[in-house]
Symmetry: C2
Subunit: 193 residues, 2 copies
DNA sequence: CATTTCACTTGACATGTATCAACTAATTAG
DNA sequence: CTAATTAGTTGATACATGTCAAGTGAAATG
């Protein structure tokens, strides 16, 4: 279970075997069942989560009760409520397992200690943040530039691994459209070919 | 001109006066006139830009020639094409001065050297990236959860300093709507009160 | 200052997407 | 395996936003 974590880190920065062993020790392995909540909005988000296995989503709930998906995270991805994790504010996101999942949890203190202990770790997290910024910008352009149909076709083409696993209602929410509209889009697309 | 930079850094991490002086030396001051392009999509983005004074926007141009604003940056903000600056890829964003502006430029090498020279700098940039992620997520929720009118009212309320200075066509682009729609929204809003 | 250019507005109409209700298919729980 | 619940689809209709064309107002340029 820790292997996928070390592999992910080593794709970005170098770690000696000794460092890798130290690194592992900071993470708490934990299993979640499908539908289980990993984080409830309103609580403090205590962990940065690495997905060793499975699929999660983070989402907010608006006043009218509608859900709005911010992120899907599958094997190899990180997920958290950044504001809450870093600043100790109340979480605004919920995080839910969409499949049975194996996670590796890192606390705030753990992260700080790791950064001080292993030279390349701060760099790793900075690079991770930068990648995340680029991904978020790409997502903004997706809905800014394209119609719902074009946006849907793009994500299915560019990230089929995630979006073929996610329920349609959550994909619709991710795109900012209703399930009905997504259903009609899919019908039109399949009718055309 | 460098003062605003040092102030911005010191809001997040500690710097001795000596470190501050070293820090400054890595930055190249440069002025841009209104309408001048700081970066052209297709070029390599050589700099991370700190805005000492003025207002800029970054934007992409789609195949049909439409512009799509990603970011506005006023005094105290950073702006760049992250993918191009960090990885040396061709820039996908244009950056244009919307007002006469004074910028402080940091090269990639400069950034690396700074990080190695001054202890807190890597931390500063990591925190900066984290803030940026939260801001981008907030922006995604803005268009995901709200109608064009609600989104417009929110940004005008929450960031009046930027959006009162930006031309309406660019605000429309930022929101992912046409200038005509924004014009009608503004008419309705002002008619109601 | 005059002229040109560009930003913004307005109207008529087309299109995309939301809403609500009903239905069918798939999944979950007993 | 069956019943109950949830996810996804479909139809009718309303509303939000886009498009195109024309106009007005403001700003840049010589």
């Amino acid at each position: 279970m820790h292997n996928s974590l070390i592999n992910a880190i080593r794709q970005r920065v170098n770690l000696t075997d000794e460092e890798a062993a130290t690194f592992e020790r900071f993470f708490i392995p934990r299993r979640y069942r499908k539908r289980q909540y990993v984080l409830n909005a309103g609580d403090k988000c205590q962990y940065l989560l690495f997905v060793a296995n499975g699929l999660l989503r983070s989402f907010t709930v608006s006043d009218d009760g509608d859900e709005h998906v911010m992120q899907f995270a599958m094997e190899g991805a990180w997920i958290t409520d950044m504001g809450s994790f870093l600043s100790g504010d109340d979480a605004i996101y919920n995080i839910e397992a969409l499949e049975d999942s194996e996670l590796l949890l890192l606390t705030r203190d753990g992260m700080e200690e790791l950064i001080e202990t292993i030279a390349n770790v701060e760099r790793y997290f900075r690079v991770l943040m930068q990648q995340s910024i680029m991904a978020l910008q790409k997502r903004i352009r997706l809905t800014q530039m394209y119609s719902a149909e074009e946006a849907y076709l793009q994500i299915m083409e560019l990230q089929p691994d995630v979006f073929n696993r996610a329920p349609l209602q959550h994909i619709a929410s991710y795109l900012g459209i209703t399930p009905e509209t997504l259903s009609r889009i899919r019908k039109q697309v399949s009718a055309r070919r």
